[in-house]
Amino acid sequence: MAATSNGKANGATRWIGTRPVRPDGVDKVTGRARFGADVHLPNMLVGKVLRSPHAHARIRSIDASAALALPGVKTVITRDDFNDLSSEFVPAGEMLVNYRDVVRNVMAREKALFEGHPVAAVAAVSEKVAREALALIDVDYEVLPHVLDVVDAMAPDAPLLHEDMITAGVEPAPTKPSNIAKVVEFKLGDVAEGFAEADIVIEREFSTQPVHQGYIEPHSCIANYSEDGQAELWCTTQGHFVVRGHCAKLLGMDVSKLRVTASEIGGGFGGKTVVYLEPVALMLSRKSGQPVKMTMSREEVFRASGPAAGTRVWVKIGMTNEGRITAGEAVLKYQAGAFQGSPVQPGCMCAFAPYDLDHVKVVGYDVLVNRPKVAAYRAPGAPQSEFAVESVVDELAKRIGMDPVELRLKNAAKQGTKAAYGPTFGPVGLVETLEEAKAHEHYRAPLKQGQGRGVASGFWFNIGGETCATLNLGEDGTIALVAGTPDIGGSRASLCLQAAETLGVDVERIRPLIGDTSTLGYTFLTGGSRTAFASGMAVVEAGKDMIRQLCERAAKVWDIPVDAVEWADGEARPAGSNAGEFDPLSLADLARLAGKTGGPFVGRAQINAQGAGPSFGTHIVDVDVDRETGRVTIERYTVIQDAGTAVHPSYVEGQLQGGAVQGIGWALNEEYIYDDKGRLQNPGFLDYRIPVCSDVPMIDTVIVEVPNPTHPYGVRGVGETPIVPPMAAIANAVEDALGMRFMDLPMSPPRVLKALEDARIAEAA
């Protein structure tokens, strides 16, 4: 059972904290919802991508003449169709992208840098013809040595992905190129001093594998470029304004000439914050003069879209015998994939964020390898670094015989804690989640023979950003809510609730819509757990804008000053000396009178949302380990997290459960398997094992509410933090069960069994 309460940041609320049926639910369960691949246009062509079979190869030449000669083929595009772009970094999710790299990622230029890298694309009358055409394109490759592992890629003699890349962030700048794109460092205090105060110092090295976001809907889009240089694009994305910007840049268009509509989305988790097919489809449509639809197969999704970074993380933590952590130090080496831009920076920022420390040093390396360019994945960068830190913290607790929750409480970040990455925390809920964990029945429940229990905490900072919203009042008093952030986690329901609360109207009278790029001002994408917070803030502002207009009209009708009108419970009332003088005018009354009183009502907001509240969580997990097969079974799992205010508690619970399940997959089974030529061997859900329903127990949730003071209803982002603690919590539970700590993920049956066998052999010897 989930313990939840209504959000009461500013006193009692009527709608915030309730659980109405989601507005997009019926269309989804009946199949009416239109996802990326569900649009068909007259004269539509099918676009297909030819992908590199090599992990690393120079492209000497591309000959498409035979493909172009095939009946039914309308056009072929290659690197020659895209203008080269200079280095320019722009935000995409919580990460940055460089246009020089984006143009090379969507279509290989000098070299193919990973197996699956697009090399050419075809538009043809059918999928069959398009496939035949791909086979007729002759690419002359010079195959080069490749490198997949982050440590190998950092070696002085490693094959170079970009022969001119000089490491940034190092003084003086290196003279020789390398695969290390960037070095970042975050420091607080002096770790040498901190370690000198410590009675116990533990240092350990960890590794995590790249994992895919595993969204069920593959990338898909349809582009329609017209003769006058305008274009429409329909696609599955977390941010259609960002897609518009990227595509306009790559195609040399004005942004106003490209209208992008976000389809219903079948999962994103950060992976749909970048472009893959979209610029290619637009280019094929421009060249062919016909609409072009492109959809990736699952295999293409695995081979060519962004996983989370695989990492090596070294952590050293010092502590007194009384359990006070005196210093934390870490070195993070993150795979970026074929182009720079791993989430090593957020990894560094989050590593020690759950702790109130005086001395911290974290150094991060952004390292290129011949794999697909990594993309954001739920709290990008944080799960990997916090896995390492939370494992060592658990070991420290064991070393002094202190309860791991107690140890965390003793050192927990709280209001006033200065984080190593800069900010001083406002009200945050880590202590509250730890207290809930300690008090939870799960934490005290007896374990069965052979089982183990683990806990871990996690942190994500969350973001705000540029956001627009409008509320259009219909003539019957119902409202169309238009937001610019695609709904990947129930945000339409949450936005309607916030609008209903602000206006004092029934939530059923508000119908939400994700507007296309021409209906709203620029709105940053759905990412960084920003949507319920930032679009929520915009909706509240738009509601206040509408209330102001409504009060003005009521004042006009009653012929009294506007400041003598108040808005309460969904109606305008005369206030002050006029109180009770006139009958209140409801939203429906004023809507009906709109034409006679000055015209329609539209509430608008365009904001740059600031003050996203960070979210902390603490997870408790029980595991059972089959000593003969190495299988780890999750027996029980509880997620406790600070949501600020849970606007729609069911969706908050869903986020907590979903994050935990993805973390369970990351911890236990998910990994990319490559052959010795750098070719992916498991590009499908059969052998890339995300958990299925029967693999996990019902995930219990506890929502803690420490309101975020910068949001009118106290909202914090909740979507990302829950994927942070699972890996460490499970590793800590396995350690509790076996007395054996796993520092390399995944803890798959062969690895666990091998460790058990090695231990048996060691014991026998």
Partner: protein, 287 residues
């Protein structure tokens, strides 16, 4: 591609032996259609055998169970007599894929896809099931373990197809069991599979034992040594340990994306032991 759905065995044989390019037999299609979609195969002829009555029936012929080639896992799972006589075979069929796949997937399809990891095959081999094979020369019988000769390879001649599976008579105090290891709990392919069929005499000693392993060699293997380790014993821990050692010793697996040689070899013995315990318990419970 030509699709045919004959209603008689003779009709199917005629199509398959037609002298043209070799056709593919379609039963449930849960492998064939996937391979077609993935462009792994491009047959010119597909012969659907589901309209042939003999492929769709579960019958008892003089105390022996006969299961049609195209009977689905779901149908088998609801057949009380089949479950009572061969619980291991039925549970192996019910492990394939998902509920949806269960509505289509068949024993013969699972066998003739010729994957060493096929779930039903170790159970069928342990059960000493025979294939009833129709072809231009009439009907012949072949032990299940002789049907596959390697991954993707069958010993069937042109024009031949599996019509049904015939099971031996079941003496009292007999039962079978099948276990597989997958990293998930469902929707996966066996890393190791173990089928065990046991018969006990009235004194509780093992009178007959067959142990078959999947995914540890190019084909499913019948491990006679492992069976022999149990015969004459009460399937006590020592006998089970000998059986497990024989099972592991018979493994000739490969390292691949689903498991290592070391892992498969070790777990084969573990699963064979666990399956034998279940079979013994069932056999003794049925006494």
């Amino acid at each position: 591609m030509r699709y045919e759905a004959p209603e008689t065995i003779e009709g199917a044989v005629k199509l398959l032996a037609g002298g043209g390019p070799r056709g593919r037999v379609l039963a449930g299609g849960t492998d064939l259609l996937v391979q077609l979609r993935a462009s792994m195969i491009a047959p010119e002829l597909v012969v659907d055998i589901k309209r042939i009555d003999e492929t769709r029936e579960i019958r008892e012929e003089g105390g022996r169970l006969v299961i049609g080639a195209a009977v689905t896992g779901a149908e088998l799972g609801e057949h009380a007599a089949a479950k009572a006589m061969w619980p291991g075979v039925v549970e192996s069929a019910e492990l394939i894929g998902s509920t949806q796949i269960q509505g289509r997937a068949s024993l013969a399809g699972n066998l003739c896809n010729a994957s060493p990891a096929a779930d039903t095959v170790p159970a069928l081999v342990a059960a000493a099931a025979q294939c009833r094979i129709a072809g231009p020369g009439g009907v012949r019988r072949l032990p299940v373990e002789e049907v596959c000769t390697g991954p993707g390879q069958l010993s069937l001649d042109d024009g031949e197809f599996v019509v049904a599976f015939e099971f031996p008579e079941r003496p009292p105090h007999s039962a079978d069991a099948y276990l597989r290891f997958i990293p998930r709990t469902e929707m996966d392919i066996a890393v190791v599979g173990a089928g065990v069929s046991l018969s006990f005499d009235d004194s509780g000693r093992c009178a007959a034992a067959r142990v078959a392993l999947g995914a540890v060699a190019p084909t499913v293997i019948l491990v006679e040594e492992a069976g022999r380790a149990l015969v004459g014993t009460e399937c006590d821990d020592a006998a089970l340990q000998n059986m497990a050692a024989a099972a592991s010793a018979a493994c000739r697996p490969i390292d691949d994306k689903r498991g290592t040689v070391e892992y498969r070899t070790k777990v084969a013995g573990v699963l064979a032991t666990r399956a034998a315990k279940i079979a013994a318990q069932r056999a003794k419970g049925a006494r």
